[in-house]
């Protein structure tokens, strides 16, 4: 055998040694589920910050497995079903993007956006803006980020009646890098916008955003007709576009690399299988997203907060997360709907 052939043999053996553990496939065989690498229609159809927040948030932040003895609110989810609170945070402990996601056992993903300006009862603190729950709990516990996240989780649990198994806190600046890493995401604006805070200008129409521009896009609320609610829609649009990118086999096949990219921004608990979770999210077969009902009447606002009826939110979230997978609401894959 020639030297070349010997080298070829060694190289192929090295490649083969990268194979995944057989257990990963055995689990799939036992479930009888075919892997779906291209969840196109479902993903494109999702409406809600969520999902990708899933992707983003999980890719990015700290996902700490929480062990809790107090079941508290609702019954625990069935095996393999997980409720995850995805938190997008700015650099000042404000949780500007909150998504409660349920990863179902059969590859479904349901996600509910929680507007940051919702007026909620923060346990041990009183009624305040939802995005202050983290900061409040952190301040009350000697600046502990863990305490901040736990406080936020408790607040969301109290608000929605859903027990949260995990949380993931994402520094929103990670979105900058993630967007760049996937080659940019396409969004569409109904009208040109100007952000008086950041000075960011975006033209009307379709555009591909990445890097700092993408970050400015998802952070803007000043200069938009509906303030934070428009921002949520922007985040949802970006997350949807990002999810579509992740579903692209060319990108999907590089999830490991992607994880490596965002790892730099991440704090995770050592037990978290980041790549595995990311894959699971990106290959969800059914994705549904929504936003909790909030009062949008400016007259009903208190200190700039959105009025929230806890009973209505509980009912909405309970029904939404428990509903069976339904047909995608948006029919055409690849469609980029325009936002404010």
């Amino acid at each position: 055998m020639s030297d070349l052939e010997t080298l070829v043999r060694q190289a192929i053996a090295a490649e083969a040694s990268q194979a995944v553990e057989p257990a990963a496939v055995l689990a799939g065989l036992q479930r009888g589920v075919r892997p779906r690498r291209r969840p196109t229609t479902a993903l494109v159809a999702m409406v809600g910050l969520a999902v990708v927040a899933g992707v983003v948030a999980v890719a990015v932040p700290l996902t700490a497995a929480r062990t809790r003895s107090d079941a508290g609110n609702t019954a625990p989810p069935a095996a393999a079903e997980q409720n995850i609170l995805l938190v997008g945070m700015d650099g000042y402990d404000n949780t500007d993007s909150l998504v409660l996601a349920r990863m179902g056992a059969s590859g479904t993903l349901r996600a509910v956006s929680l507007p940051r300006d919702s007026a909620v009862d923060i346990p041990g603190h009183g009624v305040d803006r939802l995005n202050s729950a983290y900061r409040t709990a952190k301040a009350a516990n000697h600046g502990s980020d863990t305490a901040g996240a736990e406080g936020l989780v408790a607040t969301v649990e109290a608000l929605t009646g859903v027990r949260i198994d995990h949380y993931a806190v994402l520094d929103m600046s990670g979105l900058d890098r993630l967007g760049t890493a996937v080659g940019g995401v396409e969004v569409c604006l109904r009208a040109a916008s100007h952000d008086t805070i950041t000075g960011a200008d975006f033209p009307a129409g379709r555009q591909v955003l990445s890097g700092p521009a993408l970050l400015n896009f998802v952070r803007q609320r000043h200069g938009l007709p509906n303030n934070d609610l428009d921002r949520i829609v922007r985040q949802q649009a970006v997350l949807r576009a990002l999810a579509a990118k992740l579903a692209d086999p060319a990108v999907h096949a590089r999830l490991d690399t992607l994880v490596a990219v965002v790892r730099a921004d991440i704090r995770t608990d050592p037990g978290l299988d980041l790549a595995g979770t990311l894959r699971r999210l990106a290959s969800s077969t059914s994705v549904q997203a929504a936003t909790i009902p909030v009062g949008t009447d400016p007259a009903a606002e208190t200190r700039g907060m959105l009025a929230v009826d806890p009973a209505a939110v509980r009912a909405f979230v309970g029904d939404f997360l428990a509903a069976p997978p339904s047909a995608p609401a948006t029919p055409s894959p690849g469609d980029v709907s325009c936002v404010n």
């Binding site: 070349l4 052939e5 190289a11 075919r34 086999p249 096949a253």
Partner: protein, 174 residues
């Protein structure tokens, strides 16, 4: 589920995954392909299990699934990915030099046309004869020899250390 299938999986799954990984140069694509194929094979096991060489048949299914994999990005991208993963991953150590040549070859193999790559993986990893490779690829033995000689020529021609792939920015790769 027939016992025969479970036994087949127990005996062959690891080997199939390794083969598929060598074939695709992508462990997760390999995982999906193997899982898909085994699910299909399971539903037809009564027939497949009766064959003289069930493993060869399933291997053929895996190979065909890969060869027909639609929307698959160009192999060049796969090679780049390895470069990036290496750059992002393991720190350069003493054995880096020792492995450099082998890894460079991995990249070149990943850049081969699919059928050529399948032929050399079957030859040099699965130790198949020309006839077996022809059976898996569904072509003549002459074509198999042609695939292998072309692949080797190509691998030799590009075996130039000065042109070893350098890591590119992640954004380019993704």
């Amino acid at each position: 589920v027939p016992d025969g299938f479970d036994q087949f999986v127990a005996d062959r799954l690891d080997r199939l995954l390794r083969y598929a990984t060598a074939l695709t140069c992508d462990r997760y694509l390999a995982q999906d392909i193997v899982q898909n194929v085994l699910l299909r094979a399971q539903s037809r096991w009564a027939r497949i299990g009766e064959m003289d060489a069930p493993y060869l048949y399933v291997k053929r299914m895996v190979t065909n699934e890969y060869l027909s994999w639609r929307r698959r990005a160009a192999a060049r991208d796969v090679a780049s990915t390895h470069g990036t993963l290496d750059a992002l991953g393991t720190p350069v150590g003493d054995h880096a030099v020792r492995h450099a040549e082998r890894d460079a070859m991995r990249h070149r193999i990943a850049a081969l046309p699919r059928r050529q790559r399948a032929a050399i993986v079957l030859r040099y990893y699965e130790n198949c004869s020309d006839a077996e490779i022809a059976a898996v690829l569904g072509c003549t033995e002459g074509t198999v020899r042609s695939h292998i000689s072309r692949a080797l020529r190509r691998l030799r021609a590009t075996q130039d250390p000065t042109r070893r792939s350098t890591s590119r920015p992640v954004s380019e790769v993704l």
